[in-house]
C-alpha cells in the first residue's frame, strides 16, 4: 500500500473554527433589547457593558494566561489591581493641575505616565511575588490558593497602612468628562476610551500569541509544558515573564477601573476578583479569546440586570456562569489539557 492511499478519506472533515461563542455577546445584547424601554437607554447600557467588560478583560486576561501556562492560580491577583490603581494616584494627584486643564495633551501627559508607572510597578512586584512566594509551591494547588490568598490580605493591609483606610478620589481628566450625544443616547467619553484601550490590549495579545515565536511557545506550553521542554525549550524562563505581564495587566486594569469609578480604595482588588474569577471560568482557563468573550458577557449581563433588577446583578452573573458551564463544562474555549 503506497503512502498516497493513506490520506484518502482518513481525515475528519475539517471542523470550522469555533465561532459560536463569539456570537454570544451580540446575542445577549439583542436579547436584552425588548426588555429595555427606550433604545437610547439600551445604547447607554450596552456601551457601559462593553467598557466594563474591556476593563475586566484587561484584569482577567493575565490571570487566565498565568493559570493556563504555569498551572498557578494566583488568588492574590486582585492585589495587583489595587496596587496599580494606587500607583496611578501617586502620579495623578501631584499632577492634578494637568488633569484639570482643558487640554487633551496635558491630560494625556498626566495619564500616560501614571498608567506606565502603575504597569512598571505591578510588573516588578509580579516578578518578586513569583520568585519569592509562588515558585516554592509550583504544582501544589492547595498551598498556592492559601498562600496567594494570604498575600492578598497582606497586600491590602499594607495599602491601608501606607495610604490610609479611606477612599482616595481620582477625578477624571477634563477632556474625558462628559458624553457624546448620539440622538437621544448619551455615551460617556471615558467609556469609549476604555473600550478602545481594551480592544487594543486584546489585539496586541492576539498578535503576540499568534504571530510571534514566544506566543507560539506560550500557546504550546498552555497545552503541554512537558512536550515543549522535550523539544528543547527552557519554558520555565517564560513563566516569570508571563507572570509579570499578567500582573502588569492587572495593574493597568486597576488604573482604568479607578478612573472609571473616580475613586480608589484598598478593597477594590478583592471585590473585583469575584467577577474576574467568573469571567475566567466562563472563558475557559488559559484562553485569551474566551476571557474576552466572558468579560463582555459578564459585564453586559451585569449592566442589563443592574437596570432591570438591581438586586439581582451578581446572581445574574452566577446564573450566567452556571448556564455556560452546563453547556460547556470546561468553559467556552477549553485550551489546557487539564
Amino acid at each position: 500500500m503506497s503512502a498516497q492511499d493513506i490520506d484518502a478519506g482518513a481525515a475528519l472533515p475539517k471542523t470550522p473554527r469555533d465561532y459560536l461563542p463569539l456570537l454570544l455577546p451580540v446575542a445577549l445584547a439583542l436579547a436584552a433589547l425588548p426588555f429595555i424601554p427606550s433604545s437610547s437607554t439600551w445604547v447607554t447600557l450596552t456601551i457601559a457593558g462593553l467598557a466594563m467588560g474591556m476593563m475586566i478583560f484587561v484584569m482577567a486576561s493575565g490571570l487566565t494566561l498565568i493559570f493556563g501556562l504555569m498551572d498557578v492560580l494566583n488568588f492574590g491577583h486582585g492585589a495587583f489591581i489595587a496596587i496599580g490603581a494606587y500607583m496611578a494616584t501617586l502620579v495623578l494627584i501631584p499632577l492634578a493641575g494637568w488633569m484639570q486643564a482643558d487640554s487633551v495633551w496635558l491630560n494625556l501627559a498626566a495619564i500616560v505616565p501614571a498608567a506606565l508607572f502603575a504597569i512598571v510597578v505591578t510588573g516588578a512586584l509580579g516578578l518578586a511575588f513569583e520568585r519569592i512566594v509562588i515558585m516554592p509551591v509550583y504544582g501544589q494547588h492547595l498551598k498556592q490558593i492559601l498562600i496567594t490568598m494570604g498575600g492578598m490580605i497582606v497586600a491590602e493591609q499594607i495599602l491601608y497602612a501606607f495610604f490610609g483606610p479611606q477612599q482616595i478620589p481620582l477625578p477624571l481628566p477634563t477632556s474625558l468628562r462628559g458624553s457624546f450625544q448620539f440622538g437621544e443616547a448619551a455615551v460617556e467619553k471615558y467609556r469609549v476610551v476604555a473600550v478602545l484601550v481594551g480592544l487594543a490590549v486584546f489585539l496586541a495579545m492576539l498578535l503576540i500569541l499568534n504571530r510571534t515565536k514566544i506566543g507560539l511557545l506560550i500557546r504550546a506550553g498552555v497545552e503541554n509544558t512537558e512536550m515543549v521542554e522535550a523539544l528543547g525549550y527552557r519554558i520555565t524562563r517564560l513563566f516569570v515573564g508571563v507572570f509579570m505581564a499578567g500582573s502588569a495587566l492587572a495593574g493597568l486594569g486597576g488604573v482604568m477601573w479607578g478612573l472609571y469609578r473616580e475613586q480608589v480604595n484598598a478593597a477594590m482588588g478583592a471585590e473585583l476578583m469575584v467577577l474576574v474569577f467568573i469571567v475566567v471560568i466562563i472563558g475557559g482557563l488559559g484562553s485569551v479569546t474566551g476571557c474576552f468573550i466572558g468579560a463582555l458577557l459578564v459585564a453586559l449581563a451585569t449592566n442589563y440586570a443592574g437596570f432591570l433588577m438591581p438586586k439581582a446583578a451578581l446572581i445574574t452573573d452566577i446564573l450566567l456562569m452556571v448556564v455556560i458551564l452546563l453547556w460547556r463544562p470546561r468553559g467556552l474555549y477549553p485550551v489546557t489539557s487539564r
Binding site: 493513506i6 500557546r219 512536550m227
Partner: protein, 240 residues
C-alpha cells in the same frame, strides 16, 4: 560500535511507587534497539526517565559519554535527543505548520528535509495550515514523528508509535523509520507490534517489573520460541 546511550542501575520513584528497580541498558550507535515487555513493565517510565521528565532517584544515564540524568529536559533535548511520546502530544491548538516550526527550534525549516517528511506523510502537506486537533489519530502520529525528524537528531526515543493505527499508516511509519535508520540514526523503540519490531530492530532488551531481564539480538529472540514465551508470556507471533 560505540554505545551512544547507557543506563546503569537506574531507579525511578513516582510518588510512593518504585517503578524502576535498577535498569541496565545500552543502545549502540547507529543501531535500533527495541524495548519490549508486558504492560506495566516500566518501558514508558524508562523513556521518560531518559528524557528527564521523571528524575532518576539512583543510577546513571550517559549520552555520548556525558551524564544526562542530572540535566533538565530542555538540556537533554538540546543534546540531540528527540522524543515521540506514547500520547503523541501534538499541540492541538497549533497548526501542523506551527507544530513543526516549534520542533525545528533554531532556524527555519530545511525545505529539503520538509519535502522528505512530506514524502512519507502526504497528509501533513495537505493539512499544513489546519489545526492539529482536527487530524485523525494516524495523522497525529505522523505529525508526532515528523516533529522528531524535522531536524537531525543523534538519538530518537519512540514510545509505541503504532498503537491503534491502521496497517497502511503503520507501513508509512516503518518506511520512515527504515529511511531514518539508513541515514545512520540511533533509535530506542518501545513497541508491542512484532512485525514492526522484526523489520526494524537490531537489538532487543526485554523489561519486566522495572528491570531489563534480557538483552540480545533481534534475530536471536525471533528464532527462539521458548525464550519469547518465557520473557513475554506469549509468542511474539501472536502479538499482532
Amino acid at each position: 560500535m560505540s554505545q551512544l546511550l547507557t543506563l546503569s542501575g537506574v531507579e525511578t520513584h513516582i510518588g510512593r511507587y518504585h517503578i524502576l528497580h535498577g535498569v541496565e541498558l545500552a543502545v549502540s550507535e547507529g543501531k535500533t534497539t527495541m524495548l519490549l515487555g508486558r504492560n506495566g513493565a516500566g518501558k514508558t517510565t524508562t523513556l521518560r526517565t531518559i528524557m528527564g521528565l521523571w528524575r532518576a532517584s539512583n543510577g546513571e544515564i550517559r549520552f555520548a559519554g556525558v551524564r544526562i540524568d542530572t540535566l533538565g529536559t530542555p538540556d537533554i533535548a538540546r543534546a540531540g535527543i528527540g522524543y515521540v511520546p506514547e500520547t503523541m502530544a501534538v499541540f492541538s491548538d497549533l497548526t501542523v505548520k506551527e507544530n513543526l516550526v516549534l520542533a525545528a527550534r533554531e532556524g527555519a525549516m530545511d525545505q529539503t528535509r520538509l519535502d522528505w517528511v512530506f514524502g512519507f506523510f502526504p497528509p501533513l502537506k495537505k493539512f499544513w495550515l489546519s489545526r492539529a486537533g482536527t487530524l485523525s489519530g494516524g495523522q497525529k502520529q505522523m505529525l508526532s514523528f515528523a516533529r522528531a525528524f524535522i531536524e537531525e537528531r543523534k538519538l530518537l526515543l519512540i514510545d509505541e508509535p503504532t498503537k491503534g493505527l491502521a496497517p497502511a499508516i503503520i507501513g508509512a511509519l516503518i518506511d520512515c523509520l527504515k529511511e531514518v535508520k539508513r541515514r545512520g540514526a540511533t533509535i530506542l523503540l518501545v513497541e508491542q507490534n512484532f512485525r514492526v519490531a522484526q523489520e526494524i530492530g537490531d537489538t532487543v532488551s526485554v523489561m519486566d517489573n522495572g528491570r531489563v531481564v534480557h538483552s540480545g539480538t533481534m534475530a536471536e529472540l525471533a528464532r527462539d520460541d521458548a525464550l519469547q514465551h518465557r520473557l513475554l508470556g506469549l509468542s511474539l507471533d501472536t502479538h499482532q
